[in-house]
Structures are given as C-alpha cells and as structure tokens.
Symmetry: C2
Subunit: 352 residues, 2 copies
C-alpha cells in the first residue's frame, strides 16, 4: 500500500529548522549550515526516510536532468548497445535516460518526440530517425546519431571511410568481384542491380529520407571508392532491409547470380548474419566460397560462425559526444564524423 510521502516540511518540523535549511543541507548549498544543525537535519532525514522530490525540483529549477532517447528499434543489438553506452555516459553525469522505440514508423517517432518534450526532457537523442522532426519549436537541445538532419546537430561514424576500409581489406585478400548488401526502404524485396559506376557519382539527397539515403549512400560510396582505387569494376548491389531476414534474402540472390561474387561487404551486422545463414543453407563456406565483411561490429558478430570481420562503429565515442553536446547545449548544426575501427576476424579469410 502506497504510504504518505515524507516532504521537506516534515523534515524541517522534525529537525526544528526552516525548510530553507533543509534545502541547504540536501543540496550542500548555496548557504552554509552550522554543523550541529546540519546533523539534526541529517538525522531527521534518516529517521523519517525522507527522499527529495525530483519532480518539484525540476519544476522549480526548470531542468529535469533527463534525456530522451528514441531508437528505431530497441531490439536491434546496434541500438541496444548504443543506448547502453548513452545511458552509461549520462549516468556518469547525473542524468537519466527516458528510452523509447519508434518501431521504425515516422508517425510513432513524432508522437514519441512530443511525449518526451512534454515531459520536459533536458535533451533529445534521435538515433537514426526516420522522419525529419520539426524541433525548431522545442526549447530543448537535440542531437541526431547515425543520420544527418538538416536542422539538428548530428554525429555519426565515418560511413564512407569505414566502408572503404572494409572493402579494401577484402581486396587485399585478392577478391576482384565484391558485392554490396545495403539497405532499402521496401521491406521484403531484394533488388539486385549490376551497376556501372561513374567516377564521383553521388546519389541525390533530398526530401524526408534524405539523411537515411545519405548514410546508405555513404557506405555505397566507400565501397565504390575502394573498388575504383583498385581499378575494379563494382560487383552486384543488393538492396534489402537492414535485418537478418533481409541479409538472408540478399545472400540467396547473390549465390544464385550468374557471375557469383567471391566476397560481400554488408552494410550492417544484421544483414551479414543473414548472408552467413544463406551461405550455410547452400552448403557453402565462408570465407572460402564467399568472404564477408560487415559494418557495425555488435557483439553478436564475434560469435557468429565464422566470426565476422567488421568495421566497428565507435559507439562509446558517439555516446560521449552526444551527451557532451546535449549538456553543453550548443546547437551546432555541423555534423561530427567519428572514425571507425576495422576488427579482423575470420569471415574475410584472415587466419586468426
């Protein structure tokens, strides 16, 4: 049964002081309190089991010391890891994180943002947002991770450079025909395309999905960069959802292709896991029949079979930078790009 909460008034009465003094003791300021008085207050607090009411404090102070965090899917290991990192970083600074999932639906995302704003969060972290939320009316700092938003401060891994690095590693293994598995908005369709890539071609970037497209395009660009630098023709491109199922589909398409690639660069762990599955189903082997390198580097890839060589996103850095910016409250609209890390395991053909 819920008990009557103990308030600061009760403490003041019990200790025989004013509420102001209780406040001074609890917050260790802004005025000094005589040691004896202080002890009386402390005792009162202990005896009564007083717990300050952060809601009242927030109302008075105008800050909740709470961040809102929205990911497209809390079940996605990448986002789960990122959320964990953000929680840790925030906690270290006395902040707490209101975490919620948008289910990949722009409408839900908008609703959740509104919900968080109403709750007076001190900052908003949007992970790979699908919509382009209008935060201009919000009196709250916001930051987008893994997706560049027009009017919001953004942070993200070096998609292009990271992809380039991963593909280059595959090239160093002697592969000449390297496919790309990358995301697509359409849920259950695999699109395989043999591309002729003109130097410097850039996908158009505009509209609601612009940022998304940009992130995808960047990994694609990195893949092209590496291929071009080696004088190689781009292998097939398969566009499937960023999921295990999508990757599996992609793998099947790739294996069925007339001129089968000898290696694949998957733009997400989940897709790579799916590709692995397709290869196993076909009775083939990784890396012998198809080498694989993935982008992301979640823990799952360390225990897949074979262990995946990955371009690891700098999750801790991303988290720290996001929290830093939020606390600083600066509204830099400039996008920050953080370096990725090539983690060599076995799916690329390396012996380790």
């Amino acid at each position: 049964m819920p008990k009557e909460p103990v308030t600061r008034n009760d403490v003041a009465a019990y200790a025989g002081v004013s509420t102001a003094v209780v406040s001074y003791v609890v917050n260790e300021g802004p005025r000094k309190v005589a040691p004896a008085t202080r002890d009386r207050v402390l005792t009162a607090i202990r005896v009564l089991g007083y717990r300050p009411n952060a809601t009242a404090r927030a109302l008075r102070m105008g800050t909740t010391r709470t961040f809102g965090l929205i990911t497209p899917d809390g079940g996605n290991p990448l986002f789960a890891e990122l959320a964990k990192a953000i929680d840790k970083e925030a906690a270290a600074r006395g902040y707490v994180v209101l975490q919620t999932s948008a289910d990949g639906d722009p409408e839900t995302e908008r609703a959740k943002i509104a919900e968080l704003l109403v709750r007076q969060v001190s900052g908003l972290v949007l992970v790979a947002p699908t919509a382009d939320p209008d935060l201009s009316a919000a009196e709250v700092p916001a930051i987008a991770i893994n997706r560049v938003l027009p009017k919001v401060s953004s942070i993200r891994p070096a998609y292009r450079e990271g992809a380039r690095q991963g593909v280059r590693h595959l090239i160093e293994h002697g592969h000449r025909r390297i496919a790309l598995v990358i995301g697509d908005a359409s849920p259950n369709r695999a699109v395989v395309a043999e591309r002729d890539v003109a130097a410097g071609e850039v996908l158009p970037v505009r509209g609601v999905q612009a940022g998304h497209r940009a992130a995808r395009a960047e990994r694609e660009l990195g893949w092209e960069d590496a291929l071009r630098a080696a004088g190689l023709a781009p292998g097939p491109v398969v566009r499937v959802p960023f999921s295990r199922a999508g990757g599996r589909l992609a793998g099947e398409k790739l294996l069925a292709a007339t001129e089968r690639p000898t290696a694949v660069f998957a733009s997400s762990d989940l897709q790579a896991i799916g590709v692995l599955r397709a290869v196993h189903e076909a009775g083939l082997r990784v890396p012998e029949d198809l080498a694989v390198v993935a982008f992301d580097g979640t823990p799952e890839t360390e225990y897949s079979w074979p262990p995946l060589t990955v371009v690891r996103q700098p999750l801790e850095l991303l988290a720290r930078e996001a929290v830093d910016r939020l606390i600083a409250g600066e509204q830099t609209v400039e996008a920050l790009t953080l370096p990725t890390d090539l983690v060599v395991r076995r799916s690329c053909g390396c012996p380790n």
Copy 2:
C-alpha cells in the same frame, strides 16, 4: 538557442480566458467549455505553440506516469527484447519508461533504484535484480521479473517446466547423455561436475542471491525432472557465466570430457551460442556430434548456425503482466509463473 517556454498563462491571456478554462480544454474536463471558447483556446494553443508541462502536472497530480526499468545489462538481447516489450506495453497506456542498466553490480543497482525513486516514478520494474533492494520505504509499486524477491511482486517464466520440456525433446531424439550448462556467479571459471541427483533434491534458497539461485536451480531441476522421468542418469553439469564467452568455455569443457555427452541443454541463449562456437572450433557438427537446446529464445537464435531449438520466454506476456500489475498498484507478493514455448528448429536434430 533555447526559447522561452510558452505557459498556460500565455495561452489564457491570448485567448482571453482564465487558466482554468485552458485546463478544461486541454484535459477535456472536468468542466465543460462552450464550443466558441474552446475554439479560441485551441487556436491560441496552436498559434503560440503551447506544450503542457508534464513536470508541473506530475507535481500537482502526484503521479509521473513514468516507470523505472532496471536491467542487469541493456546489451543482453534478452533484456533488450524484454525492455522493448515493456516500453511498448507501457506506451500503449500512456506511460513512458525510464530505462537504465545496473551493469550486474548490486551497488549500482541500489543507486539506480534510488535515482528512479527520487524521480517519482509511478512504478519500478526490476529485471533479474542481483541485490535484494529494500523497497519497503518506497511509496511505489515494484515488480521483479525473472527473479523472485521476498517482498516484491514477481513474475517469471516457467523455468522448471520449460527446461523439462526442452530436455524431454532432446530425450525424444534418443539422447541418453544430456549435459546442462547453467549460470554461476564466478566470472571466468568453468565448473564441471558429475552429479548424482537424489530424487527431489532442492538447492538451498536463502540470502541475497537466493532468488538468483532459485532461477538457476529451477532450470536445473527441470533438467533433472526430464532425465529422471526417462530413467536417465544426469549428464555433466557445467557452471559458467551467462554469456557467450561462458558458453564457449562450457562447450570446450564438454567436448574434452572423457565421456562426451551427445546433447546439451543450455540455460540461456548466450551460453548456447558460445557452445555452438566451441563445437565449430573443434571441427564438429551440431546436431550430429552434439545436439543443443537453449532457454530464452531471443532473435539471435533464429539465425545462428544451425538455428537453435529454444524454450522461448514469454516476453510479451511478462511485459504485459508487469505493466498491468504496476498500473493496478496491487502489491501481491505472490509470484506469477508464465508458460514457455518450445520452438523447434535444427540444433536439436529436427529436420526443419
């Protein structure tokens, strides 16, 4: 740049009404408002971009409509999935979830609980808590998931029955020597034990780790139940941490054992994934050389190689039940047990 927040006063002034009327309009009650007035208020709200302050509302109402959620590790897919389910269930009821990770540390856990209580959460969900927090002083309903706490309402999957079901399936495949991989507090030690199990033996349950021990013991009990029912001698038991690394260690031990088991029941997905890895490393095959069934059923198991046959935890039910109880505010100390689900895939030897 943070703007001046628009308050209800501004709206009232703009609409030429009192603040009470604005409140009536916003909350659609408790008094009726003339349509014309209502329109003026609505217009004012839109024009000024007014957003109600949930903090003030919470202070006034005495409820934040916010739940606190503490998991041992947000990066663990099981907990991530559970958190997602809880978030969804809570959101459907207009609640929001303050999610945080205790890093498996009892001290951190206590600190996080305190932090959440201070923030006046309307309810607390403790997932597999490591400590036995004193919530008696808290004027807030709490519920423990996956662990039975002495003074807290608890919900959990049918560990024993689920394990029994999983092991029985292995027995039906003809296995006679079935090992058990289960958790242990000690981080990096694998303990293999050949056990003689007397009928009805029950591990002692007391002290801080009692609930934890109980959950482990239950799966162990279920394993024994199935074995005994089939007239089989218990195979080896390996105690390792609930992690992929732990499972791998366990797998190595098992494969090196003199009388190697032909099947394993892993008490968590993560451990099973580790076992899979060990088997692959040894150049052996699942299920031919070692069949595997795991407890949990996170998405990762669907795409492992081979896909894992699992006893699935009823995450959605767990989540719904938890949120229901929290909202009802009942302080039932009785533990609710929810049924698991056997999901047959390939690691057990089934053809699908």
